[in-house]
Amino acid sequence: MTMLDIQDLRATAGDAEILKGISLTINAGEVHAVMGPNGSGKSTLAQVLAGHPSYTVTGGSVTFMGNDLLDMEPEERARAGLFLAFQYPVEIPGVTNAYFLRAAYNEIRKARGEEEVDPMDFLDVLEAKLKIVEWGPEIMSRAVNAGFSGGEKKRNEILQLALLEPRLAVLDETDSGLDIDALRIVAGGVNKLRSTGRSFIVVTHYQRMLNYIVPDHVHVLAGGRIVKSGDKALAHELEARGYEWVEALHGVPA
């Protein structure tokens, strides 16, 4: 089954065209790594899929589980099962993680036609999810991402991923700023959430996370286009030869 079908997607930020015609098809259960140097457009792709208002889509189409994704508000995309793990998770001072997570959980449940859960029942739901990121309940009484370390913020993203059970998860440089232990926990969490019905787009600059989350397909972005696609071996080749290799290959100025 096709989860996501991107055809010739173009997008601008201000006057600058950042995505210059991206086409990519992702089937249910697949993990696609999107790699590329800084400025290649890989984070923009993640943000555009989630509907960030700073970007304007100027061409192409995106179909998500048969629906026109670009026609949906960001919250509608979330409710339809698209999840973005943010590169820079946002702090919400004064709002406890427990309150925020339950609000999000109930929004998603409502969208699926399920009953909302009260705070007590939610604690039971959380208990299992916290195990996925090897966390205790104390994180729930802290304000959302406020004063969290870089690693804690990323773990919180994966906790939300576990809780909201999306159909498609886009991980935007989830490995950046993580030490090796945090990377192991975060990647371990993602692996536990892999399933035949769920797809992933793993956006990353480095190959190291792909040692933990082994992709089915690897795409290299340069200058707003996918310039090369392959299997996991491509990631290793990139690690060895650097991005200049693909950029030179396709005449993209470094």
Binding site: E75, F86, V90, A103, A104
Partner: protein, 479 residues
Amino acid sequence: MSSSVESLVNREYKYGFVTDIESDLAPKGLNEDIVRLISAKKGEPEWLLDWRLQAYRNWTRMAEPHNWPNISYEPVNYQDLRYYAAPKTTTPLGSLDDVDPKLLETYTKLGIPLSEQKLLAGVAVDAIFDSVSVGTTYKAKLAEQGIIFCSFGEAVREHPELVRQYLGSVVPAGDNFFAALNAAVFSDGSFVYIPKGVKCPMELSTYFRINQAETGQFERTLIVADEGAGVSYLEGCTAPKRDANQLHAAVVELVALDDASIKYSTVQNWYAGDADGKGGILNFVTKRGKCAGTRSKISWTQVETGSAITWKYPSVILQGDDSVGEFYSVAVVNNRQQADTGTKMIHVGRNTRSTIVSKGISAGRGQNSYRGLVKVLPRAANARNYTQCDSMLIGNRCGAHTFPYIDVQNASSSTEHEASTSKIGEDQIFYLKQRGLNTENAISMIVNGFCKEVFKELPMEFAVEAQKLLGVSLEGSVG
């Protein structure tokens, strides 16, 4: 950002209706005869009339404040206002047994049922309609413990010695322009006396309603907590939508004797004017408490979302040793609203402590100023103050301003001031939308988080009300 939000900005102010009721009106204008008329209408004793007249004479020598507050408004034409408006009813007001059904209906529409069958559980209410008190609930039950809770007019008649002892003892008749005006023409308000050692078993509440056009509302509240007494008091307010500004110049005086505590909470939702700044209430209010006794405590909590212009500084005079003053405030301005609000903590006694937590939220073209004074007098050894003053901006056409004054005359005291300014970011809203929340709920969550330290000071039912109110006030503020 989202069109659904823009459509919500035009949501009607839901308390903007007018009650069609015939009123007993004073002629327009202000002079000594009007002062005498008001006093006569209320059957007041000579000493109170003299006090009013003295206040009126003081007032004529004072000037409306325009220079120092960070607000701009057309000078009020005091001769074009009415100073007394009372609904004409066939039965005397004050008893709830046979109140005009139109008045009962008004309060029911406002969510404040006054009829005995539907009383708010655990909250006693004094309902003020224009210049008079419509009635007070649970009066008899409170009287069993010696608690006096009644309209100001009734207190003057029934408890003149208490009123005379404390009236003007915290806010003197000549304190400032609006307080002097209020002293001259105040029409009604609430009076509370909690006797020695009694903790008031329920929340006391006043609900203010301005109905009549071209009428000012000048109510006066006096709360006295005797030694070891405690009370929590709530105040709510609404007014119909009208094109012209309406003046509200109230005075609230609190007196806490030894070991007494008073908690005063306000959710202010006067009509704020339209999106272009037309109409709305001019809310020029003097609120002050005196911690007269040792170990006494006075706490102000306010959530201010309404009014075209707010000029208000609920303050505490910390006179008794070891007394405590607190001020927790959320002030929201949207559209063309202006607010100049804050507090004064005057440390007189030893070991006195004060806490100020101010949260200002500015949206639309609103201008929000925090103005605070922390004064430590020479005798106030070991006085301590902590001030936290946070501003949040929504959009880029609004303003947040802070004017903190600190005047310390005792070297053993300590004062702390923390301030921050933040902007609700598109990124914060997007993050929450990506988790399934719509824009309205996202803003509400962010703003409620910002105000959390203040909301937790409110009584439970009020906190829920305040959160809802904040959501409504800010709808459409992110464009």
